[in-house]
Structures are given as C-alpha cells and as structure tokens.
Amino acid sequence: MKTTALAAAKLVAVRDLRLAFRKPSQLLQPLMFFMIVATLFPLTLTPELSRLRDAAPGVLWIGALLSSLLALEFLFRDDAVDGTLEQFALSGQSLTWMLFAKTCTHWLLTGLPLALSAPLAALALGVPVAALGSMVAALALGSFALSLVGAICAGLTLGARRGGVLLSLLTLPLSVPILVFGSDATRHAIAGTEIAGPMYMLGAIAVLGVTLAPLAAAAAVRIGLE
C-alpha cells in the first residue's frame, strides 16, 4: 500500500528528529553562537542598563538571524551529500510535503530552542521581565518565518560549491522584513506598548511562507539536484 503524503512527511520528521539527537553538536552550535553574541554585547557596549535596553532588540534579532543562517546550511546539505535527498525526490511522494516537514523539524530543533533560551540573554541586556513573554513569541514566529524563507535559498544553493556564502547573500535581503518587524515587536514589548501590529506582520509573513516556501523549496531542490 502506498504511503500517503502526510505519513511520508511524518516519517521524514521522525527521521530528522532521531538523527538530530544522535548528533547533538550540530544543534547546539547555532544556539551557542546566539548566546555568545547576545551575552558579549553588554561587555563591549556599556554597563548602563537603559542604553543596553535600547540596543537589546537589535542585538537579539541580529543574533537570531545570524544564528539561523548558520543552522540553515545543515537543512538540506547532509541529505544531499549522502544521496537521501535524491531518494526523496524519486520516491513518488510529494517533495513539497517532505521538505515542509524537514523545515518544520529544523525550526523545532534550532529556532524554537533559540527563542526559548533568549530570555537568558535578554535579561543580561536589561530587558524587563514583563517583556520576556512577548519577546519569546516574536522570536519564535520570526525564526519560523526565517526557516521557511531560508529553505528556498538552501535548496537553490545545493548545487553550488561553497554554497554557504551564497546562501547568506540570498537569504539576508529576503529576511530584512522579518528583522524589521521582529525587532519592532520586541521594542514595543520592552517599552510596554502594544505589539499586535508588528506581530500581525510577522504572522502574515509566516503564513505566506507556509503557503509558498515549501513549493518553491521543492522546485529549488529539484534544480539543485541536477
């Protein structure tokens, strides 16, 4: 009996989770990078909390963006190298669903831990405790959108040698709106004002990403496999 598209996507997600826990260093690397960037800032900038607080949204979001770029490299590369991605493409199943599952798992393993550990770094930057919840929500949503956008670029750079640099160049301009609205939401959260506006925008980008990114990523991967 042929496996349904959803069951195949679930298998891909389970496989990726299992692989991730067998090789945790790959997961910890982007997270460590984020924590190091965010905690080094107070040491180099100023010990004055009010000024640190002003810089906090920028520091947190740039840290998150760079760390997600670091993690994106691993999204499809390993599977492309060992030939399992090729087998996905030849399985007769929807590559779109399988890559969507891969992207979601990737976010679960990199973006979500980053958002959840951000309060530690945020406290060092003088972010008030009341703002932490909104900040985590914004980072979680933003990193999800970043993963989706990044999936397209990761697919496109599969065939390129030294794809890492190209991947950053492709992803950075596309991630600017996420960066702008995400840091805006965090700024509002710190100031104690309404964050709904930028959060809606982040949500809209994420929805757009869910709808279009897997399709584009599948097309990109098929080209990348040539």
Binding site: M1, K2, T3, A8, L11, V12, V14, R15, R18, L19, R22, K23, D82, G83, T84, E86, Q87, F88, A89, L90, S91, G92, Q93, S94, M98, L225, E226
Partner: protein, 205 residues
C-alpha cells in the same frame, strides 16, 4: 514499457548524450556499457528524471515521464554510485524510513530483504561503522523492498566481493522473473543468462 527516444543532453559545454534511443521490455535487462565518462550515469539520471534532457524524451507505459513524474517514480527504484544511507542510523532504521516513505513496510519484510542480501548480521549497527560493501548490501535490500517495476542501477556491484556480484546477478534475475525491468550501468559483465540481456554501448554514437 520504458522507451528512451532521441535523448540529447549537455553538461556545460560537453554534449554527453547524443541521440540515445532504446527500449526496455519487461523481463529483460539493459546493460549500459562504455568507457569512464561516456555518460552512463548521466543517462541513468536522465531516465530517472534527475536530469532534464535538452532534446528527446523518456516514456513509461506510453506516457512521457516528465508529465507523470510521481506515478513513474512510484514504480522506480534508483540506486546511484553511493548507497543512499544515513550514517548515524542503523541499516534497519534506514530501510524503515527510506522504504516507509514509499509504501507501508513491516519489520518482517525488512528482515527478509536484509537476509536475502546477506546484510542481516550487521543491520543493527550504525551505517557509518560499516564497510562500503556492507553498505551496498543494505542499499540493495532497499531496492528489493521498493517493489518497483523498474530498477535503475549504477554500478551495482561496486565494492562487492565475488559472492556479492553473484547476488546482484541473482537479484536482477529474480526481478526479471517477476516481469520487472532493469537498466544497469556496468564495467564488468554480470553473470546473467545472455538471452535476458540487451547491451547498449553509451558514448559511441
């Protein structure tokens, strides 16, 4: 059932495949031969749909494979140069996932296929600990499990010992016996009955 018609394919500036045409019929094996770099792998990848030919087409059951890609792929098992296995998973886990995304597969079926290809003794070890030949045996079990009508095999005997090469020939013969089709790129002749084999030399046309 599988028809390759006038396929031309360029890789960069190189005209690798020049007007390749052949038919593969159920119960027969097409062996692709030719020197290194003649385009055997390119042809297999073009048939599989991983490469798009600039000219010509591949049809399966009378329909262009480009038009019905997923239907064609569901009936296709492709084994490339490198066994497509995850190093951090065991052979058994690899098969459960790689075959599982195609069709529902039971543990008993996986064990039977592993036993058939002589991979059972090391099927529970992480694949990265295995030798190249052992990996190939696990990958071959995956091909058997795919239940596919068409096998595309690229140098299937690489890294295998003499007994392993016989195993590949036996597996191909069994596939042909089920009215399956096999297209394989080879450097050394496979110990197959001559009446089942059509030979095609790539890169001379």
């Amino acid at each position: 059932m599988l028809r390759v018609q006038g396929v031309h394919l360029w890789r960069g500036d190189r005209h690798v495949l020049r007007n390749v045409t052949f038919d593969a019929t159920p119960g027969r094996c097409v062996l692709l031969t030719g020197r290194n770099g003649a385009g055997k792998t390119t042809l297999l990848r073009a048939i599989a749909g991983l490469l798009e030919p600039e000219e010509g087409q591949v049809t399966w059951r009378g329909v262009a494979t480009r038009a019905t890609r997923d239907v064609f792929h569901a009936e296709l098992a492709y084994l490339g140069h490198e066994p497509p296995l995850k190093g951090d998973l065991s052979g058994r886990e690899n098969l459960r996932f790689s075959v599982g995304i195609r069709r529902a597969v039971t543990t008993a079926e996986i064990d039977a296929a592993l036993a058939r290809t002589g991979a059972e003794p090391f099927a529970s070890l992480a694949v990265r600990l295995l030798s190249a030949g052992q990996r190939r045996r696990i990958a071959l079990a995956g091909v058997v499990l795919a239940n596919a009508a068409l096998w595309l095999l690229d140098e299937p005997t690489t890294n295998l010992d003499a007994e392993g090469q016989q195993l590949v020939a036996d597996l191909i013969a069994e596939q042909l016996g089920r009215s399956g089709l096999v297209v394989a790129a080879v450097h050394h002749p496979l110990p197959l009955p001559a009446e089942l084999v059509d030979e095609l030399t790539v890169g001379t046309a």
